[in-house]
Amino acid sequence: MTRIRKRTTAVGATALTGAVLLALSGCGKADMTKQTSPFAAAAGTKTVTLSTQTWVGAQSNVAVAKYLLEHELGYRVDTVQVDETPAWDALSQGRVDAIMEDWGHPAQEKLYVDEKKTIARGGDLGVDGHIGWWVPKYWADKHPDVLNWKNLNKYAKELKTAESGDKGQLMDGSPSYVTNDKALVKNLKLDYEVVFAGSEAAQITQMQQFAKEKKPFLTYWYAPHWLFNQLPLKEVKLPKYTDECAKKGEKDPESIDCAYPTTPLQKFLNADFAKGNSSAAKFLKNFKWTTEDQNYVSELIASQHLPADEAAARWVKKNPDVWKKWLPKK
């Protein structure tokens, strides 16, 4: 009796699974790369989803774009926070419509823009991004020669921390940021240990803490960033960036021995969204401002803790001549 029951259960289970599978495939295709977020556009039909990255500069772009799309063009805007590389994936799937600030992802660009054609270029953001090594101004003023990499070893002792052991500490940030620091330290024969703060939040907090005590530090950092307004930093000169060095680095990332390039930051749009030629797509393609504009908004968000929307509103009120040009002609 039990055996029979077991068999019927087994048969039943198999039949049920089969039925579910059949029912699923009966509905036809379901391309999950075309599905959007369940929270998107609950209120209206005209909607745009923007990817916002963790750093504040990117949040400022998104805040202003969002404000104008909502107030001038009547869209509803959703934002999704994801890291850079996954954001490319999301953009190609149409889960987000645009990335407002990209620092250069050649591999992704090749795959999605050139080969699969699921992502379209959206033009310059107007802001130049630069990565480098920086020290606090208060320290550089006292020891001006620290601003050349050749003298860094002299100061290694001063930059020791518990984490870096008997070497100097070079602080790096989030793992998602582009960095060659380990190779640089090795190839330039520097007496330093790269310590990863693990997230930008942790890195900023640590820098502010050092600054409060006027302690020296050496950190991987990037411009534009709102932190410069609060905590002035000076860049350490690394060996000059050349195309040869970059080419060499592309083949073997371990061999890089020159500074980081200065990149004009790019916008990218989902290909279907761009082709749709909606007023939002046109607006986002036209969106172009300067480093000062971006810093103005970032500063309001990050150090005065204004809500992003309000910070954007203030900038918009002050600079109508800048953004009026972005609106598509009717």
Binding site: M32, T33, Q35, P38, V82, T161, S199, A201
Partner: protein, 664 residues
């Protein structure tokens, strides 16, 4: 994860004294023999191994590089995601189903408006769990609104509703299978046991790999994470049914199905409700963590606030999470308690047959009222911004204790000291340990405390780490886990002893512990860095804060359950308070203390990845890096290594004797 694995009901150590006796007895008899066998085996194998491969860290010849295959797999998925039948006809529908159902719930919540949702939740809580909890629910929802978190809260609730329903369905089905068939039970048990040990983050990567970022991946990861307790408790409940009752029912001529529906399931309802309770708590913690892969809602707000180093805003988003957790926990727990008593709660008009129509009518009235006043979403005029004062307080606190305090030094100095004097030697020691030595130690520890099976699992787990080629970072992570564990145990058991001794102390502690356990782990990030700088010390501090509540709780309970008779007799023999504690209470509470150690290990390990965000480096950093750069090989290998570390530590600290009662 903490709230679930350590909720009071599961961790009650049961008949303490009987077990202690058995554990000690088995230890005394077995340990020597086992060690002897191991020593002999080592004497034969070690020279062979070290002759063939060098000692020191794991030999390179014995590693397998998996990053290539992982990379290929991920490229294949990206290339075929929109064409291959498996994606288009199966996973696509799965993901679509998730999106559609979450959206449906979300739109319903928005349509009810804040008045409707508040009325509905309060009334249901009143009916199910009584006036006090209804009041808590009401206040919690209002607070969420006042903090300006209404929409994210609704998003989180929508995710929760869907993921909890699916988890319960999946868990109950598995549990049913396990409860009715012995073979199924034996098959499920080790799987469920293992899943309970894994840190939540480890579940995220594979789902991101297949589904990409977004709600479907987040929700499915949540289901996998939250279903095991339901399955385990359902199976246990069904198996634990009173044999006499079952006999009686079958002698009345009931068929198998009738027996199941009329006797076994009703008898197991307490376990079923406990299962639901745990599933809800685990789902909530996972929904928050899943914000890292694009699940919107409260977790996302926390995550975004942290990006601009804004503790205040992060706290504003965390408070509704904690409140949601408290309300859901208390409601389901209370519902479970009331089941036995069989008396319904609530005012007279909420009783009897008319209950649900009454709830519906009042909710509808509230919805209409909300619509008339024209505010479906919480009115922005009544939002209070708590961020500035919280940030000021944080600054003030940090300024005063960061460094330069005479004699004590500041927190920064402690962190530096901890790193140089504890973490560094420990890490260097573990790394310098020859690999076969590490395997032997683990085998010995696990065998002495458990059976040859657990010893084998532990050793194999450690060996897998070596094979994956992440031996050195794993030893680094292990050193952080051990250091954090020791601090957690010293502080936790100390506080637990105090709390067990005074009812008032316990009363004060309880809400604090509740909050610590449900606060999203992200929130600790900035205060911890502000106090301890960047590095491994703050990572350890975050782990201690996270694991402490569970250890305190289990210790307190264990000590409380020591039989009063034993205490009485000790007292009458003239023992001082200290003697009582040391010679009667602590030895008798030994199983509870062992459980505290085990839970401490599991929880500390769960924070390893958060540690990666504050400079903990090693495996945690690799997982974060893998998640954020889409380097699935790196992330998956580190994730597997963390899982193996977890398995190994669990087996080393878990006496087999206790396993029979675990989860019951």
């Amino acid at each position: 994860m903490s709230a679930a694995t350590t909720s009071p009901a599961t961790t009650a150590p049961g008949t303490a004294s009987a077990r202690t006796a058995r554990v000690t007895a088995s230890l005394r008899h077995g340990a020597l023999g086992k060690l002897l066998i191991l020593a002999v085996a080592a004497a034969v194998l070690v020279p062979l191994a070290s002759a063939k491969w060098a000692s020191g860290t794991w030999p390179h010849a014995l590693t397998v590089d998996l990053s290539g295959p992982f990379g290929d797999a991920s490229t294949w998925i990206v290339d075929n995601r929109d064409t291959h039948w498996f994606f288009v006809y199966f996973l696509g529908h799965l993901s679509n189903g998730v999106v559609v159902s979450v959206r449906a719930v979300y739109l319903c919540l928005l349509a009810l408006g804040w008045t409707g949702v508040t009325a509905l939740v309060t009334l249901v809580a009143w009916r199910v769990a009584g006036l006090r909890i209804a009041a808590t629910a009401l206040i919690s929802l209002l607070v969420s609104g006042v903090l300006g978190m209404w929409v994210p809260t609704m998003q989180t609730i929508a995710l929760m509703v869907v993921s909890v329903l699916v988890s319960i369905a999946v868990g109950a089905l598995l549990g049913l299978a396990g409860g009715l068939s012995d073979r199924m039970f034996r098959l499920l048990r080790p799987v469920l046991d293992t899943m309970q040990v894994l840190p939540a983050f480890a579940y995220l990567l594979p789902f991101v790999m297949v589904f990409g970022i977004g709600v479907p991946a987040a929700l499915l990861a949540t289901v996998i994470y939250a279903a095991p307790p339901m399955a385990r408790l359902t199976a246990l409940g069904l198996r634990g049914a009173d044999a006499g009752v079952l006999e009686a029912v079958s002698s009345l001529g009931a068929t198998g199905r009738q027996r199941l529906l009329t006797a076994r399931l009703p008898l197991a309802r307490k376990e079923l409700l406990l299962g639901i309770n745990q599933t809800i708590m685990m789902a909530l913690s996972m929904v928050v963590i899943a914000s890292m892969i694009g699940a919107a809602g409260l977790g996302d707000r926390v995550y975004q606030a942290l990006a601009s180093v804004d503790v205040g805003a992060a706290l504003a988003a965390s408070i509704p999470i904690v409140l949601l957790a408290v309300v859901m926990d208390r409601t389901t727990a209370k519902a479970g308690e009331r089941l036995g008593a069989d008396k319904s709660a609530g005012p007279s008009w909420l009783r009897g047959r008319l209950v649900w129509p009454a709830v519906a009518v009042v909710t509808a009235l509230a919805v209409v009222a909300g619509r008339l006043t024209g505010s479906l979403v919480w009115p922005t005029a009544s939002v209070i911004d708590i961020a500035p004062p919280v940030n000021h307080f944080k600054e003030w606190m940090v300024d005063h204790i960061y460094s330069g305090i005479p004699v004590l030094g500041g927190t920064a100095d402690w962190a530096a000291g901890f790193t140089s004097w504890v973490l560094n030697p420990l890490r260097d020691g573990l790394t310098a340990l020859p690999w076969w030595g590490a395997l032997l130690i683990v085998a010995a520890l696990a065998w002495v405390i458990g059976t040859w099976r657990t010893a084998l699992t532990a050793t194999v787990a450690l060996a897998v780490i070596g094979v994956l080629g992440v031996w050195v970072p794993s030893m680094n992570t292990l050193s952080q886990v051990l250091a954090a564990l020791v601090v957690t145990l010293v502080v936790g058991i100390g506080v637990g002893v105090l709390a067990a001794g005074s009812a008032r102390m316990e009363k004060i502690l309880r809400p604090v512990l509740d909050v610590c356990q449900t606060m999203p782990q992200f929130v600790y990030l900035i205060p911890v860095v502000a106090l301890f700088g960047v590095g491994r010390a703050p990572a350890a501090a975050a782990a201690v804060v996270y694991a402490l509540p569970a250890v305190i709780r289990i210790t307190t309970q264990g000590l409380r359950q020591v039989s009063p008779a034993a205490m009485e007799s000790a007292q009458s023999l003239g023992a001082t308070r200290w003697q009582q504690l040391r010679q009667v209470q602590l030895p008798l509470a030994r199983p509870a203390l062992l459980l505290a150690v085990n839970q401490g290990v599991v929880l500390v390990l769960a924070v390893v990845i958060i540690g990666g965000l504050v400079g903990g480096g090693a495996l945690g950093y690799d997982v974060v890096a893998g998640l954020s750069t889409g380097d699935l090989g790196l992330g998956m290998i580190a994730g597997i290594a963390i899982v193996c570390l977890g398995l190994m530590l669990d087996r080393v600290t878990q006496p087999t004797d206790r396993r029979a009662g675990k989860g019951a």
